[in-house]
C-alpha cells in the first residue's frame, strides 16, 4: 500500500524541491526522470504542538480557561485577499483584485508602442501608430499613395496626409480637434553633433509624448535610467523632409536593442510570438534565464 509523503510542516513547499541550493544553482531545479521540473505530489502534513498554525487556537483556548473568551467578532481584521502585482518592469503597482489589476494593465501597459512607449487604447490604433510613426516603408509609400487610414473602424477611407485625415475625422466623424490619439507628428530637430546626419531617429522624444498623453507617466520614469541607445535606422536623406514628424533627440532610449530591420515590428504583440527572434516584451534588466 502506498502512502503519500508525510512532511512536518516546516516548509511544505520546500519539501517538494531541493531546499539546500547555493545561489548559483538556485535557478536549476532537479529535473524528474522525464526531464521536467515539476514535482508535486499529495502531501500529508503533520503539525507539531508548537506550530505557528496552532497559535490562534491555543490562545483562544487559554482565554477561555481564564474566563475571557468571547465568541463575538471583535477587533477582527477584515479578511485579506491575495494581491496581484503588476509584472511590468519598473511598475510597482499592486492590486487587491484581479479586475483592478487587469484594468490597470490594459490601460497602461497593453497596447504600448515599444519605440516611443506611447500607450494606445486599442490594438488597431497601435498598429496605425506604429505604421505611421515608425515605419519607414510607410513614409516611402505615402509619397505616392493615400496611406493615412481613417481612425474610425469600418470607414476605410485613406488620405494623403495626416492633416487631411484629421480634417476628415473632425468633419465627418465629429471628432474633437484635439483628439489625443491622433497627434500630428511634430518637426524634428537636427542632431548634427552626433556625426550621424544620415540617420534619422524615429524614436519619439518621450518627454514630448508625456506632456500630451498623460498616460505615459508611469512608463517614462523607469526609462530615464537606461543608457541611451541609438536606433540607427537608415533612411535616405531625401525622404527625410517628407516625414512630418522629426522627433527631437531622445532622452530615453528604447527598451530593446533590436536588430535593425525596417520591417521589424516594434509593437508589443497582444498574443505572444513564439519562436526565436520574436519580440519579447518586458525585457528589463533581468532577462529570461534558461
Amino acid at each position: 500500500m502506498s502512502r503519500p509523503e508525510v512532511y512536518p510542516f516546516d516548509n511544505i513547499s520546500a519539501a517538494s524541491r531541493n531546499s539546500e541550493q547555493d545561489p548559483t544553482e538556485a535557478s536549476r531545479q532537479q529535473l524528474s526522470e522525464d526531464g521536467h521540473p515539476f514535482s508535486f505530489s499529495p502531501q500529508i502534513v503533520r503539525l507539531h504542538r508548537e506550530h505557528d498554525m496552532f497559535e490562534d487556537g491555543d490562545i483562544h483556548r487559554h482565554l477561555y480557561l481564564q474566563d475571557l473568551y468571547t465568541s463575538e467578532a471583535e477587533d477582527r481584521t477584515t479578511l485579506s485577499v491575495s494581491e496581484f502585482p503588476c509584472h511590468i518592469s519598473g511598475c510597482s503597482a499592486q492590486f487587491s483584485s484581479l479586475g483592478e489589476y487587469e484594468h490597470h494593465y490594459n490601460s497602461l501597459h497593453r497596447n504600448v508602442c515599444s519605440s516611443c512607449r506611447r500607450c494606445l487604447p486599442s490594438a488597431r490604433l497601435l498598429d496605425i501608430h506604429i505604421q505611421e510613426w515608425h515605419d519607414s516603408l510607410f513614409a516611402v509609400l505615402a509619397q505616392k499613395q493615400d496611406m493615412y487610414l481613417c481612425l474610425v473602424e469600418g470607414c476605410g477611407q485613406k488620405f494623403r496626409t495626416g492633416k487631411q485625415r484629421k480634417d476628415h475625422l473632425i468633419r465627418i466623424h465629429k471628432y474633437p480637434p484635439d483628439f489625443r490619439f491622433d497627434k500630428l507628428k511634430k518637426e524634428r530637430g537636427n542632431k548634427g553633433g552626433r556625426g550621424q546626419e544620415q540617420k534619422v531617429k524615429v524614436i519619439e522624444a518621450v518627454n514630448d509624448v508625456c506632456e500630451s498623453e498623460g498616460v505615459c507617466e508611469v512608463l517614462c520614469n523607469p526609462m530615464s535610467d537606461q543608457p541611451e541607445e541609438e536606433e540607427s535606422m537608415e533612411i535616405c536623406e531625401k525622404e527625410a523632409p517628407l516625414m512630418e514628424d522629426m522627433p527631437s533627440p531622445v532622452q530615453d532610449s528604447e527598451v530593446n536593442a533590436l536588430p535593425l530591420n525596417p520591417q521589424y515590428s516594434r509593437r508589443i504583440p497582444k498574443t505572444v510570438c513564439f519562436g526565436h527572434g520574436s519580440s519579447r516584451s518586458f525585457r528589463g534588466q533581468r532577462g529570461r534565464k534558461k
Partner: protein, 501 residues
Amino acid sequence: MWRLNKIHHKSRWHQNNIDELRLRRREQERALRQARRDRQLVSKRLLLYEEEEQTGVTMETASGEQDVVSLLLKLQRGGTEKEIHLKALSKVLRESSAQLSFIKQENSMHLLVGLLTGSDAQCRLLAVRCLHELSYSPNTSVASACMPATPYLLTFLSGPTTKFTETCLYTLGNLCPVSEAVKEKLLAQGIIPALASCMENQRYNLAVVEAVGFTLSQLLQATGAIQKIISMVMCSSLPTYLVSFLTPDSEFGLGAAIECAWCLHYLVCSSEDHQELLARGALLHCSSELVSLSGAVTQGHKEDGMELLVCPLLRIVGNLLPSCLVEDLDKNTVFTLLVDALCVFLQAYLSSSPSLARETAWVLNNLTAHSTECCSAVVTLNLVSPLIQLLPVSHGINTMVLRILANIVSKKKELCVQLVQLGLLSALCSTLKMADQEMVTLSLEVLYMLLLTSPQVKEEFLREGGASILEIIQYNDEGEIRQKASYLVDQLLLTQQQHTI
C-alpha cells in the same frame, strides 16, 4: 459551584464596563502570545461559588493580613465556630497579601490539612476552598505550599461527593504546572491512576468529567517528562473515556467535551505512535463528532463557543490521518461525510475565525492527500466550486485550498475534465498572477498536470490567454518558477507547431 452551561463573562473581573473587559482581554491575549512563544503557556482556573453566582458580584475583601493571623488563631482554638472562621478565611485568601501572610505563619498548612481530613464535612469543604484559592495564586511559593495536602486530595478523588471532588480536581489542576518538582511529586503520588478511577466513578457527572479533563490537560501540556506522562496515560483507561465524552450535552453544554478534546489533542500531537488511539476509535469518534457539529452549523444552531470544541477535534483528525491506513479510511463512510463537514466549516469560519478556517483546510488537505475516495467525494458533493471561490483569500487559506485541488488533480486524473469545466483553468489564470510565490508555484504544478490530460485542456488554456500569462512569469524573481514557466511555454509551443503543420 462553577458550571459552564453557556459561556458567558464571569463577573470576577469586577467589570461593569464592557470596554474595560475588552481591554483586559486584549492585554491578556498579548501576554498569552508571548507566553506561548516562551513555551510557557499555562492557565489556571478559579471556581466561583454559588452565592457569588447568584448575586453576580464577587465578595469584596478588605486587607487580609491581620485577618489571616487572627483567623488562624481562632481556628487553632477549635470550637463550634470553625465553619464561620473557615469561610472567612477562604474569602480573605483571595488577596495575595493574605496568601503570603498565610504561608509565613507556622503550622498554617498543617492546620488546614487537619481540617481537610477532619470529621466535619462542611469544614472539609471549606478547607478545600482555602486550598483552592492558594493553588490559583501565580506566586510559586504560595502554590507550592499546598503540597502537603495533595496526597489527601488525590485520595478524595475516588470519593462519591461531586462538589468536593470538583474543587479537589481544580486545585490539583492548578498545581500541576507550578514547577517540575511539584509535577514529579504528583506523578509519584499517583495522580494519573487517581484521575482514571475518578473518571470511571463519576462518569455520569459531566461537571466532574470536565474537571478531570482540565487537570489531565494541565499535565499533558507539560514539556518536561512528557513521554513518561503519555505512556502512563495510555496505560490507563483514560483514553477510552476521553474518546467517549466528545459529544456536547444538551443540558450541560460543551464544557466536558472541550476538555476531553484538548486532552486528546495533546496526546496525539506529542507522540508519533497512534495505533493505540486509533484502536480505541479516536479518529472515528472525532470525525463523526465533527460531522454532527457541522450539521448544527448548517441548520443555524451554531452554539456559542463551538469553535473551542471544533478546534481540537480538527487537530486530532489532522494529526491522526497520517497514521491511519487508507483502506481503513475508505471502508468507512464517515470520512466522505467529513469532507462535506470540513467545507461547511470553511465557509462558516472564513470571516469570523480565519485561523480556524485554515486549520480546516489543512485537515481537508490531509484527507484528500491520503484517500482517493475523498478526492472523488469533493467532486461528487459539488464542493469544487466553493473551493475555487476561496482561492483569492490569503491568510494561508488559499495555498491550502490549492493544495487540495492539486491533490484531486493528481489522484483522480479522470476528473480533470470535469474540474476544468467547473472553472479550474480560469481560476489558475488568476492565481498565476498573484504576488504570493507559493501560489504561483502551486498553480504552475497544477497547470502542468492539467495540461497533460488532454489536448482540449491545452486549447482551452490558450483560449483563455494563458500563454501570455506564462510569458510574464518567465520574468519572475525565483529561478524555479521561471524554469517551470519556460517548460510550459515550450510545451504549448510544441502544440501550436503541431497544429500549424
